[in-house]
Symmetry: C2
């Protein structure tokens, strides 16, 4: 995995106007006030930022205004709201994000910094950076947080406190833009903030998040015996907690990262097949060795928590 | 799944001396004071029972005596301790259990009720009932509780409070024997107590417990990229919590239930393969349908909690 080190970054000549340093005077626009966008709005307004929001759902806007998550809200991309923003956080699904940027970049003012919250990067970052104006900057990031419920009514900035935040800079970013996104994550109190290149990010997410969801869903749907529900214990509940899944968002995330995810499924399936082979061969020593390896690794995780 | 209904049970003519009804005067012997045996001892002595214990590990016996989990303890199967017991709970691994019973049944007094804590049943219940004396009764049961740590030092009767307790009666059991095992589980405050036939139990356990452990272990061992640890979030942690696994016990449990477990692995693998196929085909609708099914089922579980 390629973690990006500060200092190694190529100097970027594309961005003609650099982003502001984050300060409490910055005006922040949240586009898409779902669970994550809503939690950003909540966390940032709590810190005193001037937050405004756009969402096509009138009820979400009304709720956010009522709760004080943002000062102004609209169900449409109003040119004056876009022009007023120093920072735009796009909380839309990946493909909707690209469409929104294409349609609305004309209204942004020079020097605007744009970031996102998408769970996949390869398929959107290059595209967005290629068609964006040269006087605004898109620096992608991924808040690795979520809940089993969605929408601004379930927003809670505290979901970030134990979560990782990943910035995925490219040659199309400036040190200033990256620093501003990092500062934003610090204000939202993420536990750790790291930089990864776009492809390393998607490989990591493919394994740690997408494969785990694919497993949980398959386990939940592979057996039709309803009587089993009466006997489920902690193990089954643990493994299927994330089987409650937003079908629109996750089908999009899976398909945008499908090559990597298929590879991860194959890697996992081969290992489960290896275990099955040991059962077939009555290979007690092989099983014990595999269990000891798994126990050691999991113990290391717990130690590093 | 065949849940056994009271009243349907064949009258048993094999047992020549029926078990006592459970009462606080009963003397209970725990054989094998690991996590579960130790937690039984702790829970039952707390309720005022006269508990004694046998374990080959002197340190476990010393610890249990010091904590007051039992009044008498021994590292050997002393004939007088066995003869004094009304109820014997065998907390050993399945194969050790059979050996122990063969070696020591001679010392039991007529009317002794024996139960166990094993996670597999088909491979031991018939065997045990076939070689046991006719004047003692073996009524198998499975406390579906555990922790990621083992041994009497981690014993805690409270692990039973949210757990299922399964009794697996056969034609070799009496209504009185079953009632006594049920009463024991009630004293230990299990959340639910149910009866299943031996094969239904092993199918249920194969899916809900063994398959989940096989998945967790395979997920934990299938990827050697140590850098991933820095990015693990809740999903990965949830799915691998049970990857800390006692290699001796679980290799035994897996192999004793291997045919069922291999079938469960195949069933799960086919479903994960189906998901992979949808990725390959770019089948968004298929994925969404699968995710909706999984979400509904998991929501039903949460509702029934």
């Amino acid at each position: 995995m390629t973690e990006i080190m500060a200092g190694n970054r190529p100097v970027n000549k594309l961005i003609e106007k650099k982003a502001l340093e984050l300060n409490r005077e910055c005006k922040i626009l949240i586009v898409g006030t779902g669970l994550i966008g809503g939690s950003y709005a909540m966390g940032l307004s709590r810190k005193g930022y001037d937050v405004s929001a756009i969402d096509t759902d009138a009820d979400s806007i009304a709720f956010g205004l009522e709760k004080g998550y943002f000062r102004r809200g609209s169900t449409e991309a109003q040119p004056d709201m876009l022009a007023a923003a120093d920072i735009v956080v796009i909380g839309l699904y990946p493909t909707t994000l690209l469409k929104w940027l294409e349609d609305n970049q004309q209204y942004l003012r020079p020097g605007t910094l744009i970031t996102d919250v998408s769970g996949v990067k390869s398929s959107i970052v290059d595209k967005a950076q290629s068609f964006l104006r040269r006087d605004v900057e898109f620096c992608a990031s991924h808040p690795m947080a979520g809940r089993e419920v969605s929408g601004i009514r379930n927003a809670d900035w505290r979901i970030f406190r134990n979560a990782n935040f990943i910035i995925t800079p490219t040659a199309g970013n400036t040190a200033e833009g990256i620093a501003t996104v990092r500062a934003l994550a610090e204000e939202l109190e993420f536990k750790t903030i790291r930089e990864l290149d776009v492809y390393a990010h998607d490989r990591m997410i493919g394994f740690l998040s997408q494969l785990t969801h694919a497993i949980a869903v398959s386990l939940m749907t592979c057996n039709d015996d309803e009587d089993l529900a009466a006997f489920t214990g902690d193990s089954f509940r643990d493994l299927t907690r994330i089987a409650r899944i937003n079908d629109v968002m996750w089908s999009e995330l899976f398909l945008l990262n499908r090559d990597i995810l298929m590879e991860n499924i194959d890697q996992f399936s081969a290992e489960l097949g290896r275990l099955r082979g040991m059962l077939e061969q009555n290979d007690r020593d092989g099983l014990r060795q595999m269990f000891r390896k798994s126990t050691e690794r999991r113990a290391q995780f717990d130690a590093g928590k």
